[in-house]
């Protein structure tokens, strides 16, 4: 079939074509659609991290929402403070009867501190948490269950500390970021391009990392942890570093998502959202970086389309997707694409 072979020849050009389309998207899409796309891209950054730990490291995390939330709350706290006149405290604190800013809010007034916190806090929490579990050779199913407990504990803690976290409603009503008005016409495309650039950087960086010796050892530890030990390596540092990188990407994704969505709340980072993040990657293909991006975009697009019309239907659909992908299509869409192309 001549047509198919022509398509095959065009395959290497496909990523560049898609990148070109993505860069040009602000000129073609409405502001609403562009905002939606930017949100999904922020989620795709988190999804890339799951490919690293779950696909290549065999570490299933059901608590990525925690790191997503740490990044999201960091930037939200900064925006809350920067929109206020000097010396005032956010409105929700006043409503719950607080009179002064908690000490750990204060440094978030500084943009530099906030950016550093977005990068460092999720990574540090991820590294310490995973080290505490992995260095005692606890992993696999146990680790997944512990991460789920982490997601539950983190989201209930936020809900119960209404006076300093905004509680169930989260933090919202932002007007500006680093001096740019969120409502002004240039900001939307600008933030979109920033998100796209970070997504591309994360993609290229992880491709390099997965092809390096680090990636080989990570996969080796996934397939035979004890064999790796017998060869003289300790798998723990590799798994901890991978988990910390995934936490970093989740934090960055969370911060960008909060910018685009204009809100961060426990409903976006608890147990159910955390496991939904895994389904993006399961559908896209857990071993494939490109698959994870496609999965995150497609699942969220579908969610947006289905759940606005039939909210109940979405949960059935997601449950069925979980069962279907895991039993019949463990390599996700990326596995399908590979099967057709080869």
């Amino acid at each position: 079939m001549p047509d198919l072979s022509r398509f095959q020849a065009a395959r290497p050009a496909l990523p560049w074509l898609l990148l070109g389309l993505a860069v040009a998207a602000p000129f073609a899409l409405s502001a609403y659609d562009l905002n939606l796309l930017a949100r999904f891209m922020a989620m795709a950054i988190l999804a890339l991290g799951l490919v690293l730990i779950w696909g290549h490291g065999g570490i299933l995390s059901l608590g990525q929402g925690v790191f997503f939330g740490l990044g999201g709350y960091a930037i939200a706290m900064h925006m809350k403070l920067s929109d206020l006149p000097q010396g005032e405290i956010p409105d929700f604190m006043l409503w719950s009867g607080r009179e002064s800013l908690p000490f750990w809010w204060t440094p978030f007034a500084s943009p530099v501190f906030t950016l550093a916190a977005i990068l460092i806090v999720p990574m540090l929490v991820g590294a310490l948490f995973s080290w505490a579990v992995f260095h005692r050779r606890v992993g696999g199913t146990y680790f997944a269950l512990i991460t789920q407990a982490l997601a539950l504990a983190f989201s209930t803690l936020i809900i119960s500390r209404q006076d300093v976290t905004g509680g169930f409603n989260g933090l919202t009503d932002f007007y500006s970021i680093f001096g740019f008005g969120l409502a002004s016409p240039g900001t939307g495309p600008g933030l979109y391009w920033v998100t796209l650039a970070i997504l591309c950087a994360a993609f290229v960086g992880l491709r390099w990392l997965l092809a390096s010796r680090f990636g080989i050892l990570l996969r080796a530890a996934r397939d035979g942890e004890n064999r790796v030990r017998f060869l003289g390596y300790s798998p723990t540092p590799f798994k901890v570093v991978a988990f910390a990188i995934a936490a970093l990407l989740a934090g960055v994704g969370g911060a960008l998502f909060t910018l685009h969505a204009g809100v961060v709340s426990p409903a976006l980072i608890g147990v159910v959202p955390s496991i939904e993040m895994v389904v993006w990657v399961a559908i896209g293909g857990r071993y494939s970086l490109a698959g994870a991006i496609v999965g995150a975009l497609l699942v969220n697009l579908a969610r947006d389309a289905v759940s606005s019309a039939f909210p109940e239907l979405w949960l059935y659909l997601m449950g069925a997707l979980f069962i279907f992908v895991v039993t019949l299509l463990p390599q996700g869409l990326a596995g399908l694409a590979k099967g057709k192309g080869a």
Partner: protein
Amino acid sequence: MDSLFLNQLFNGVSLASLYLLAALGLALSFGLMRVINMAHGEMLMLGGYLAWLTLLVVPGAAGIVLAIPVAFVGAAAMGGLIQSALIRRLSARPLDTLLATWGVSLILQQAARDLFGAIGVEVRAPEWLSGSFMVGGVTLPSARLFIILVAALVLAGLALLLLRTRIGLLVRAVNQDRMMASAVGIDVRRVDFTIFCLGSGVAGLAGVMLALLGPVTPNVGQSYIIPAFLVVVMGGLGSIVGTTASAIILGLFAALAQIFVDVSVAQMLLLVFVILFIQVRPQGVIAVRTRQLDA
């Protein structure tokens, strides 16, 4: 302070018995198959709704007695269905089983929401269960005493089954070394199936107990299942003694922590406690001896 402490001590034992009932099935099948059924919490929910339905047909004191076997059989049947239709096909992939059964859990929760409504249904406890005793300044609600009694009976029953019957012998053999058990002619898949049904049935029974304490809602199982997962993590592979000890430790810890901090902080402390515990004993409270390297 003293009576508060004693009250929380009693609440801790009562919480521990619920954790135990929820975790026993998980721990048994985890020991055999190394898989966790994320839809196990929905077996609690199913048990609760079955109790409510039973009481609609047979109101009064006889209803609650009848509800226990009904919930047990109903949840066991649902567990058997999940095991044979899904988990058996995935038995070599523990993490995928986790995800697939989470899908089942979502579907069951949403189905319950559509069938019975999101607010939940109320099971009216019979009179002999709605009173309470006062012992030395401590209030002991009859329903909670009843739950502790049921948990103790279930535990004794399971211990008898595992230690004194032929099926128990087979279960222990598969638990210790699956390959060897299979090599000497034990039908390991049948053992898996039986234990899975049994564990789900116990969870269904726990659901009846939950119905005595509060309304049955579509996500009633969720609030008990995550602590139950932690019980399994801390208990040690497939050991009943370990699971019981870890349920008691975590139940008491959660209840006693609430003397000093609120529920949400107590939840965080519970997780921190489990992580600290595995620093000391990563193999769990009781480690079942095995010759397998990758247990």
